[in-house]
Symmetry: C2
Subunit: 262 residues, 2 copies
């Protein structure tokens, strides 16, 4: 099984109109997957892009429930609306996948996962495992979450990737991004790193100034690298450009252009 994260910036423009969706990009992804399915099994996780983030920010979901009935009443509505927005993104993936004869099946992340300050505490993934046995392609997504510490929070697609890698032990986990891979420096400025050993990651995190939490100037690369460092225990991890045709296929075959973390 191969686990694939489709980053929000791959299928949509976060700075564009609310809920814009790059149908052409996702169609190309589906075409490439259709060349490998059913010999290869897949689990997909997609990000929020221009969908969930807007509501999550407007209703400050990450702050959790406050204990004040007025604020919480309003935030509960936002929690629900954020999920509905993510379901709209997800339905576009399912539609494109089924149009390409790929049995993508929507899994509502928030129905399954419980977090503690946004970190996954627990999830019963038996349905996902059974769907894989039956040759379905489960499609999960970054979503809101019930949180034991603060009532509600946001669960990122990258966290789901790390959790599923640990639980399902895919032979490969692939991050589709809107850059060519991991750079030794800011994306586009530094040098692309084609091969990276797990033990080289801590030094790279330091060079990228990823040490302090919340100072991520590299468009989420720090957090991805930290998660990839955990994931590399269980699986080979690839970072490739999801907007360039053929790069996903290259990562699936293992001879592609991007960054391979051994």
């Amino acid at each position: 099984m191969i686990l694939i994260k489709i980053g929000g910036s791959v299928f949509s423009d976060k700075r564009g109109e609310p809920e814009n969706f790059r149908t052409d990009v996702v169609e190309e992804i589906a075409r490439e997957l259709a060349e490998f399915y059913p010999d290869e099994k897949f689990v997909i996780v997609h990000g929020g892009g221009s969908f969930g983030h807007h509501y999550a920010k407007e209703y400050s979901i990450r702050e959790g429930l406050s204990g004040s009935w007025g604020i919480d009443s309003w935030r509960r509505l936002g929690f629900s609306l954020t999920h509905q927005s993510m379901l709209r993104a997800n339905s576009k993936f399912v539609e494109i996948f089924t149009d390409h004869n790929l049995p993508g099946f929507s899994i509502s992340t928030s129905s399954l996962f419980i977090t503690e300050r946004g970190e996954i505490l627990y999830a019963d993934i038996e349905v996902i495992e059974k769907l894989l046995e039956l040759d379905f392609i489960p499609i999960l997504f970054g979503d809101v979450s019930v949180d034991v510490a603060q009532g509600i929070d946001i669960l990122s697609g990258d966290q789901i990737m790390a959790y599923l890698t640990k639980m399902l032990k895919p032979k490969k986990a692939i991050f589709l991004m809107d850059v060519d891979g991991i750079y030794d420096g800011k994306p586009g400025e530094g040098t692309l790193i084609p091969e990276l050993a797990r033990e080289e990651v801590p030094a790279l995190l330091e060079r990228l100034h990823c040490t302090a939490a919340g100072t991520d100037v590299t468009g989420g690369i720090c957090n991805k690298l930290r998660k990839a460092y955990e994931m590399a225990h269980y699986s080979e991890v690839w970072f490739v450009n999801g907007k360039v045709p053929g790069r996903l296929s290259g990562a699936i075959r293992g001879d592609g252009f991007g960054t391979r973390l051994r």
Copy 2:
């Protein structure tokens, strides 16, 4: 907590256009619930109506996976499309609820429930329990299901009602239908039964010719009654007309018009 099933025939016309939805009926339901929330907590389960059934029938989901790759490839797509259709119905409920300041939150039944020939084998409902603690109103629905016996199947809203009654022990479970309650005979022909004791149910099932499976001429009443017979172990069960304003409120208060099963 009060558990409420909104029957498919209440919010939509099964014989009408695909995916027709009675916004006015669901708005009235939301208005009535808003009079009791947050003093009262609710869990909602809705049926398929003109949404899921169409796809479920077209792709004969109830037959399960066959072992033939050709048939199964096609049926897997239908499984996914049936769920998407139910999500479209569900999103209308969430929208109307949140418009009425009710924090209805979509729970994807198929992400949680595993069946064996359509009967619930297992579900981890921890997210539902936590949502209730946080004053959300979880909204579930009849859906497709991963099935250990035949790969895939359909899980009815009535089955979910029985399962949640056993697990969550609501003080009351209410079935909203498009008739006034349980009749001693065909709906509209026999006499409406205002009060029914649990021990009277087996005799009534016989009078309604509900003994043989699959000979249900009373529009699903046989199956509902069988489930209600199980549920009455744990909770009072009401059957009321969901299309008549005020009937739901009457059942919530306990002085309403319909059938009460003690």
